[in-house]
Symmetry: D4
Subunit: 252 residues, 8 copies
Amino acid sequence: MNPNELKILLQSISDGSLSVADGIERLRTLPFEDVGVAMIDHHRELRQGTPEVILGESKSAGQIFTIVEKMAEKGSNILVTRINREKAEPLLARFPDGSFDAESRTFCLEQKPLEFATRGKILVICAGTSDIPVAREASVTARMLGNEVVEIVDVGVAGIHRLLARGDQLREAAVIIVVAGMEGALPSVVGGLVAVPVIAVPTSVGYGAAFGGVAALLGMLNSCASGITVVNIDNGFGAAYAATRINRLTSP
Amino acid sequence: MNPNELKILLQSISDGSLSVADGIERLRTLPFEDVGVAMIDHHRELRQGTPEVILGESKSAGQIFTIVEKMAEKGSNILVTRINREKAEPLLARFPDGSFDAESRTFCLEQKPLEFATRGKILVICAGTSDIPVAREASVTARMLGNEVVEIVDVGVAGIHRLLARGDQLREAAVIIVVAGMEGALPSVVGGLVAVPVIAVPTSVGYGAAFGGVAALLGMLNSCASGITVVNIDNGFGAAYAATRINRLTSP
Amino acid sequence: MNPNELKILLQSISDGSLSVADGIERLRTLPFEDVGVAMIDHHRELRQGTPEVILGESKSAGQIFTIVEKMAEKGSNILVTRINREKAEPLLARFPDGSFDAESRTFCLEQKPLEFATRGKILVICAGTSDIPVAREASVTARMLGNEVVEIVDVGVAGIHRLLARGDQLREAAVIIVVAGMEGALPSVVGGLVAVPVIAVPTSVGYGAAFGGVAALLGMLNSCASGITVVNIDNGFGAAYAATRINRLTSP
Amino acid sequence: MNPNELKILLQSISDGSLSVADGIERLRTLPFEDVGVAMIDHHRELRQGTPEVILGESKSAGQIFTIVEKMAEKGSNILVTRINREKAEPLLARFPDGSFDAESRTFCLEQKPLEFATRGKILVICAGTSDIPVAREASVTARMLGNEVVEIVDVGVAGIHRLLARGDQLREAAVIIVVAGMEGALPSVVGGLVAVPVIAVPTSVGYGAAFGGVAALLGMLNSCASGITVVNIDNGFGAAYAATRINRLTSP
Amino acid sequence: MNPNELKILLQSISDGSLSVADGIERLRTLPFEDVGVAMIDHHRELRQGTPEVILGESKSAGQIFTIVEKMAEKGSNILVTRINREKAEPLLARFPDGSFDAESRTFCLEQKPLEFATRGKILVICAGTSDIPVAREASVTARMLGNEVVEIVDVGVAGIHRLLARGDQLREAAVIIVVAGMEGALPSVVGGLVAVPVIAVPTSVGYGAAFGGVAALLGMLNSCASGITVVNIDNGFGAAYAATRINRLTSP
Amino acid sequence: MNPNELKILLQSISDGSLSVADGIERLRTLPFEDVGVAMIDHHRELRQGTPEVILGESKSAGQIFTIVEKMAEKGSNILVTRINREKAEPLLARFPDGSFDAESRTFCLEQKPLEFATRGKILVICAGTSDIPVAREASVTARMLGNEVVEIVDVGVAGIHRLLARGDQLREAAVIIVVAGMEGALPSVVGGLVAVPVIAVPTSVGYGAAFGGVAALLGMLNSCASGITVVNIDNGFGAAYAATRINRLTSP
Amino acid sequence: MNPNELKILLQSISDGSLSVADGIERLRTLPFEDVGVAMIDHHRELRQGTPEVILGESKSAGQIFTIVEKMAEKGSNILVTRINREKAEPLLARFPDGSFDAESRTFCLEQKPLEFATRGKILVICAGTSDIPVAREASVTARMLGNEVVEIVDVGVAGIHRLLARGDQLREAAVIIVVAGMEGALPSVVGGLVAVPVIAVPTSVGYGAAFGGVAALLGMLNSCASGITVVNIDNGFGAAYAATRINRLTSP
Amino acid sequence: MNPNELKILLQSISDGSLSVADGIERLRTLPFEDVGVAMIDHHRELRQGTPEVILGESKSAGQIFTIVEKMAEKGSNILVTRINREKAEPLLARFPDGSFDAESRTFCLEQKPLEFATRGKILVICAGTSDIPVAREASVTARMLGNEVVEIVDVGVAGIHRLLARGDQLREAAVIIVVAGMEGALPSVVGGLVAVPVIAVPTSVGYGAAFGGVAALLGMLNSCASGITVVNIDNGFGAAYAATRINRLTSP
């Protein structure tokens, strides 16, 4: 039931062609969907200007191509995540302005200019070179969601002076995403140095008792620095989305 | 080495009483600590006006009393978490203006007025009545850290209409903390309804395969709503601290 | 917004005191709750004649007493689960017609006659004497939810002939709840013998590598008998509720 | 020992050609099997008209072909699950009337008309597009086992209004199978909306802390909606079989 | 249906008072139980002369007393396991000839002489003094089940010479039960030294990453010595029962 | 130091060519190995007549070939386990009398007649057709280690009458190896029917919450039938070796 | 068989009172124990001057008292670990020179002067005040085992400047024991700062997803600083013992 | 800020061209990095003469080639770990003096002579032939880090006499690395025989309940021999690095 249908219904009551009793009955069974969408407008606000996002992992090259083509017609910006080169090539052939990044496994198509949040920058830090794919997924996603992004790579806790030397950049960030595998300790150190929100992303980097990222995940959940929050293992996209929720936030 | 000592050192160089070579030597070994504190001023900014926080759990009544008494002398506001009635009673006797909340197991002493963040309110939602202690710890902490707080209790996903009926409050929040045990599904539903940051707190409520909160924790980490972040099981304090990092954030 | 308020609103439109445009606006923001309740009538149907249920575990004797007293005023039947003798005694003093069962840790108050489902009986089987508390919780719950119940106790797979000797009772059941700890194998055997729905309840009985019911839970999830479903560890209540969903089911 | 043999034995006693003592001895060692089959007739009832089912996963193309060919001779309907295209092709060549569904990885051969249960429809709901293969396995299985089936895809909890808008279909179902990966929250929401039996199927969809479906499994076992039952991860077949036990159930 | 009833039934057929058809009908529904017991005579053989066993853990002092008293009337030998002193005292008062062993938490009542298996002795070895309770439960059980028992305590792998010095006793055993907590390595060493059956019992001794016996259990399951078998954590009773199956074994 | 060397040493002392002091010194540092071998003769006894065993899994075709060729020269019987066809072919070419079994992944070379234990047969039972490879590994190993072997396949607990119908074979076994995946319940049923030793082998058959055999392993460790012992997942070889320890056992 | 007995044996051969053949027989069966002790003298060297150690946890006050009294007679230094005040009091009454430390739960009795290793000091660092009991157990143990010990408490990674400010003490240590709960990140930072051996001790401090020290343990095993070694959770004693193996090490 | 820059800064103060106040300001914000490096000289000491190490696992052949070529220019010794033959071949072509070891998956280039620690040898022991790759990684790493290395292979606990026969080599080692999979028991036995530091390396060798090395890891953490330390699963490199920290240690 869209607003138009509702208008017709109420007019029928207003002009007497529908009794109040029948009106009650019809209204009590109106679809939840429309009322739901009408009610919650915050969500819609976020979506304006932000890209359409497609999780490429479990989709075939053909499926991705079809979806992207359909969305591109609307003029949207488009972000495909977890996409490999093989799946990306048909897209690059069809959309020469699109860009594929092999490291972060993302495809981006900017059909209209990104409008960046004016609050501040999102800083993405990663502990080791092996964490770069996840960090890059966070960077690319954050940018496509309308944020300026700065990256610092390879500043692990075993060489703590390398991190401390980047004090300026830590100071300037509005939100910090910290990506780390192995023991996942970097967010604790960063969280002790800054007052801004810190989002920790465990990665599946490591072997043996790293258990595919579980060690890093547990380390981050048990951080001794107060107020660190955590997303799923390797979930660079989610961290960027969460950072966007923070960075684009305006007072209600 | 505090700023004063540094000044004396440099003046000795300036007036020639210390050679450049000796000055280099002394500077190279100056304590990191002070430079560290000087460098990182964001953190200090957060602390101003915020309470001293004491984790009461592993401390005896006597230890807590001593620490609180010492801090109270400085005129600080004080928050003690994970404190039971037995440990709280000496504090209540000594500080009649303090307040103990049995449900959240917190003791608060407000010696100077709280200055609330002007950005917005922190909304704390919990799924079931058993989650209230953790939700209340988040509420009390968020308030003591300088935020206005609103609470909604008992709106689980099995009665989804109860949540949907609170649309106004969801709309007004600047940050939402969602506390849930059992399957931990509420943050996904909330995250799908709002665009503001959502922090999920799993609780150890439940039995059997709830595994002391692990089921809820995993549910939250795997949320199908994008951009949900998670803190440790039962960590209402951490969620409030993270929400404060977000709510007190000002553009750099 | 209850039906009455809705009637008043539509009458205002009908008599012209409210414009169609204003009516649309007010309707779009009406609380979901009432529409929700109106929409889902299946659920209501189940509730008719069924008891009010209170999970006693995390509530104090005082809290339970207050809730029961309030509900009793409406004349409802009442079931309190996970209640120990200490908490039950004030209830027994106040409601002499109520009954407390120490084994299943339940308190029942029947203020109006139970109407039993005409489809068939729910059979509750348990593997060992230690499983009886969970089996009894299932029995008591199933009965209070309006089902005739039969119990068979202590028919484990290591003495399979004891189960086979009860063929008549297996044949007569409309739904079978099988409660088992340790290796949780009984549901597989039962599921291979009957065609009716079988609901498996793992119990936390056992020690060592039983891991508080996990061994039984995994055994049941991996049952080689097709179409066995499983509920949480020790969740006799849930199994009875699921059996009731099946036994009270009428063609739509 | 079939009934005929038993008859001959008793007649030998009756006509004196076998002594009572020898008869006792022979009876005490008669095969359990036949008595067992004779005793349990519920199971036989289910099997009538239902297809032969072959789990294709651990069998070679050749093994599957041989089994299907042998069964087909009897005129049975046949369902092969967990079969890929490579293994299905010899079957399709041999049985042109058979059908292979790549998504659900099933091969069906209907040699005689399916007789559908008259009670009602089985509704299969899945949370995301990635859950479709498991949902489809449930649908195909439920149909071959003699049930009318309706499917709703892609109605996750993060877009709860999409589910709520399908109220009619929820209302009409006799049994609902809910398939979900990630946090596995959808069954809780559905279970709160309907009174009919709800069977939850966790899927191995997700990554990181989804742990191959464990997060969804735990979420479902800890559902806050009463009376949800659960089957093994990705076990669409088992859910359909359980639903059939319910839907085909007739009063004893 | 005991043999007597069967005899009467067949005689009725023999003398014509029961028709063959009615006889078939009655036989087809005869209780499985009796046939089962008749069929499996190996099991019965084991039970002769062996004690009645009661698992005391989940039973009250009163329940245990009642069961023991009833069994004692038949003149059986009786073994109660997992019984503490409090529960044992009523038994000791009633049966002055009974014996309670606090370490193994067992109560034994020998009313008729034990007949020991003539094959050989069961050797029970434990790694540390903390493993003694479990080892002793194995010893007491093995003796009551009719085996001669020898015990060696405190011969861990970190002092391997202490074990090697007991070569004579290793040589003489017919079956060896090895009880060990912590890393559970002793069975591997013993299994490499002897050719007789070795049954490993992990204990819950240890702390931290011992995980209540899981470390020892895994160590034993992965033993590099071929042909070690394992029972549940702390299951001294089960190990003794398994050893008895071996030691009492006679050629079929 | 073999006995001969020891004899020469003592003779040197006896004839005075070696002083007592030097003799002490040489004896104190004599290799442990020889004393060890001398001391433990049980183990040697087992090895006589038994095959050389090679675990093929982590070895290359070339490595296996070299080892087998070297052992074959001594005239030993040889068993290679966990070997695939590719690795087996060079062996078959070189030893035309050898036999490769693809299902159990074993290669056997019998150069001298097997001497079977006179005690009795080893019965290998498996629950489903997918368990056959592990069961066959146990069968082949048990035979090569000098035992007569009987196999029963596909008698799961969901069709319990199929097992009960094999009462004769259960009765005749000296040791029973039960192989089962999924819920691993079969050993409990078998253990309740017989008095002889039962060795349970969990298999990695199953999916989802089978966790690669963990569900079956836990089921077996928690068996409600007393005196079942367990070996590692898929360890058919180990079960056969353990059964041989039992079946070849002679009174000391 | 001690050296003296061996001497007598060889002399009997030398003087002809024992034949070579009988000597061979007696030597082949000589206890391994003595040869073992004779052979491995490194271990003995460590023990000289070091205390007798008693693990008090699973022993009664009476048992501990008896053992200590017996050892004290030999004039040894004595260390009892995991002992509470209740168990310590009889010892304090009997040995007024002994000392009980409630925090580390240790009782020490120094009857002869400790001889400290001349190599260097053992530095014990702990991350939070809750880790002090484990750190203190390490300190007390290390001292009693003959090492000079320095302690630094409460230098967690969230306040990294506090650690960096202690550069002098890090520089001076010969071995560093790092004790940390929660995310267990401190050893990584320390290991990146120093070249000496670092032993990490996870503690069970923390709640929720700390899982009793598992998070810290995994963090330490996955340390990104090379060459960190780890001991069991809460195993302060073991860390000190390992540090002693290092610190007392002399070139072979 | 390197020492030279610092010198210029202080000279500006000394000659009056920079005020003391400005000097303070500039010093307070100087990069941490340089001070850090200046402060911690122990670490630098270790690095002198030691090779550059590259973890080859997550790098492409091209990336490795570039890094090695750049490092080789400085004349350093170079160790690449976790490198397969395919990635090694370009290196071997470019550096004919380099050596690739397929078993340990290492590439070594010695451009200047290794200087061995004078303290003693590092002994690497492994339990089975399957553990050799990890043991060899430890050996190669230890040698390249400047230690003499001795290897003993295939001395598992099930054939304990083989280990005991190697007493001389155990006696001569300064540090012992023990590599073991399956139950991981060997370090306990070794730790009971020697007084020098023992570092245990669990390997992922084994199947079923070995859980990829977890069984061995837990066994080692729970070792009954005091003072064993543990590194991550398969971490031969880390063990060698830790051994080097010990073996190269000089008194401060």
